[in-house]
């Protein structure tokens, strides 16, 4: 079996999920164990980094053994060990990186470093291989960026958020609405019940770049609610949610469509935790139907952080020569290169 197939053991611990997976040939999920800490961080209204790191070390060998057992493989079957080395929370990343290095060293296996964002994008690679050139919109609690992939193995940022990530904004306005972290799913649900009546700002929507900004929207939302509180007015929470979500989606979608005009892709990929947002998926369905581009959404169960997507990206990266040694360290601010700026 060895040398004929790629069989990668992958680790992902960049935030508040401890995940270990076994991926065959970059395409087949033999196992994908995800231990989530959401309940723990709900006590604090958001992810507390030191608490997250402590949970990772509690979970790491449990997830590792469950992943191997569920996949029905042993260490001698493996052809590589993959690990997210950034971006993410440094203490969390280090538990996974250290674990992956130990396994790679103990069994003399190649160590494949994976950018977390590449992992999110490769969550779409299981159903059918990504076709290039491709453009990806990666939206999550920690990231909001547009990534151009002219060919396999090349990732170029063309735009990103200048302040909060979209998912982070959901959590912050969720708090004002009395919704616990992670607020995205419930706000999404409420947004399907109300009307866009508040005309929140669409920041940078008309700017001639592909960057995003959500802090102005967040402030406008919070000010609206506080002002109503002061004058004892009652606002319709569903209308608030709808108005907020419409503003987020308008900005994400208009930038993405403009990016597609400049970067003609065969495939448009939506990935990351916020890719599970029904409103965003529906709107992109409508917009992309009009265009000659295939729309590929990350499967719902692979939108959140998981090691399967890391293993899928690692298979591709390994073919392109990616390899790390025992000095691999976390890179919390890891970023793809920016695409060359053309004259404007």
């Amino acid at each position: 079996m060895k040398n004929e197939n790629s069989l990668i053991l992958s680790f992902e611990t960049s935030c508040d999920e401890t995940s270990v997976a076994v991926i065959k040939n970059g395409k087949e999920i033999l196992s994908n164990i995800v231990a989530t800490q959401i309940k723990s961080h709900q006590r604090f209204g958001g992810v507390v980094p030191e608490v997250a790191s402590r949970h990772h070390i509690e979970q790491i060998t449990i997830c590792l053994n469950d992943a191997l057992q569920k996949a029905g493989v042993t260490y001698s079957d493996l052809t590589g060990v993959a690990i997210t080395y950034g971006p993410g929370l440094v203490g969390s990343l280090l538990v996974g990186i250290t674990a992956a290095k130990v396994v790679a060293w103990a069994h003399q296996l190649p160590l494949i470093p994976v950018n977390h964002i590449a992992g999110h994008i490769y969550a779409t690679n299981f159903d059918h291989p990504i076709e290039f050139p491709a453009l990806a919109l990666v939206v999550s609690g920690g990231h909001t960026e547009l990534v151009w992939m002219p060919k396999e193995g090349e990732f170029k940022i063309i735009g990103e958020t200048r302040d909060d990530a979209a998912g982070e904004t959901y959590d912050k306005i969720g708090r004002v609405l009395g919704i616990n972290y992670p607020a995205g799913p419930q706000v999404d649900q409420m947004a399907h019940l109300g009307h866009d009546t508040f005309a929140f700002p669409r920041a940078m929507e008309k700017n001639d770049n592909f960057d995003f900004s959500f802090s102005g929207l967040k402030s406008a939302f919070i000010n609206t609610v506080h002002h109503a509180d002061q004058i004892n007015a009652t606002l319709d929470k569903n209308d608030l949610a709808t108005s907020f979500q419409q503003a987020v989606i308008d900005v994400l979608v208009s930038k993405a469509m403009r990016a597609l005009d400049k970067y003609p892709a065969k495939e448009f990929i939506l990935a990351g935790g916020v890719a599970a947002n029904r409103g965003l998926r529906e709107r992109l369905d409508q917009e992309l139907e009009k265009r000659d581009v295939e729309f590929v959404k990350a499967p719902l169960k692979l939108c959140g952080d998981n090691a399967a997507m890391i293993g899928a990206a690692a298979e591709m990266l390994q073919r392109h020569g990616a390899k790390a040694d025992m000095s691999l360290n976390a890179n919390p601010g890891l970023e793809f290169e920016w695409a060359e700026n053309e004259e404007e």
Binding site: T18, K39, E50, S53, Q59, L64, G91, I97, T98
Partner: protein, 241 residues
């Protein structure tokens, strides 16, 4: 018995490879803070120069805390994952006991000391015996003043060990007079070779999954939360989905 021992609890990084009490290779680094990058690199190098393969190891011994949270997680993750993946014995020892191994005089009281900042210490009190250090006062996270009160019950000399002792030396000397003793040079650094030899005699961990650092301290978020939610907080907060 081939043993890998390591301590990454604080700024020093110490790694040793032994065969019983024979040191095959040992390294202590005090100039780097990136234990996450250097620990596995150092282990790989030392095991190689000891002419061993990873699978030759029979036991891994790690300093389990207290200390720097991130530092502790490096050694504990290495220990638990290596033990798990190679099916070898795992031993965790107190990072404070580890420092007290540098004092050999039988009967001597030793207070290994880490500066936890804001005039707070990670410390404990050990008495040296022919079987190694025995705990007299448990490892704890305690204010300097409270610690002095606890130590006042002992009317004998105490050897304070650790690089951070320097931060408290004047006040300790003023308080204990001639009963204050300290050590110099490498005796203030954790020595993985001593940790390994000591760890060979200790009972291995029976449940590797539950092996975690001895932080001796809740996170700020958790301790604030507990104050607001007395009696709660014992359910499992992490679940597989």
């Amino acid at each position: 018995m081939k043993v890998l021992a390591l301590d990454t609890s604080n700024r020093p990084l110490s790694v040793s490879v032994l065969n019983y009490d024979k040191v095959l290779a040992t390294t202590t680094i005090t100039t780097q803070r990136k234990h996450a990058a250097y620990a596995m690199q150092t282990i790989e190098d030392l095991v190689k120069v000891a002419k061993l393969k990873p699978s030759d190891l029979d036991r891994v011994v790690v300093a389990q805390g207290p200390g720097s949270y991130t530092g502790l997680r490096v050694a504990v993750t290495i220990g638990k994952v290596l033990s798990d993946t190679l099916k070898i014995d795992l031993v965790g020892i107190s990072s404070l006991l580890a420092l007290s191994l540098n004092v050999e005089k039988e009967g001597q009281l030793v207070a290994p000391t880490f500066d936890a900042r804001n005039d707070i210490l990670f410390t404990g009190l050990y008495r040296i015996t022919s079987n190694g250090p025995k705990s007299v006062l448990p490892d704890q996270h305690i204010s300097f003043e409270e610690w002095l009160k606890q130590l006042d019950q002992f009317d004998e000399s105490i050897v304070f060990v650790g690089e951070d002792v320097a931060n408290f030396k004047a006040r300790l000397q003023a308080h204990f007079g001639t009963n204050f003793k300290s050590v110099v040079g490498i005796d203030n650094l954790p020595q993985a070779a001593r940790i390994g030899i000591y760890g060979e005699q200790q009972r291995p961990v029976s449940d590797i999954d539950t092996f975690v650092p001895d932080y001796l301290r809740l996170t700020q978020a958790e301790s604030d939360w507990q104050k607001l939610h007395p009696g709660e907080g014992h359910e499992s907060y992490v679940e597989q989905v």
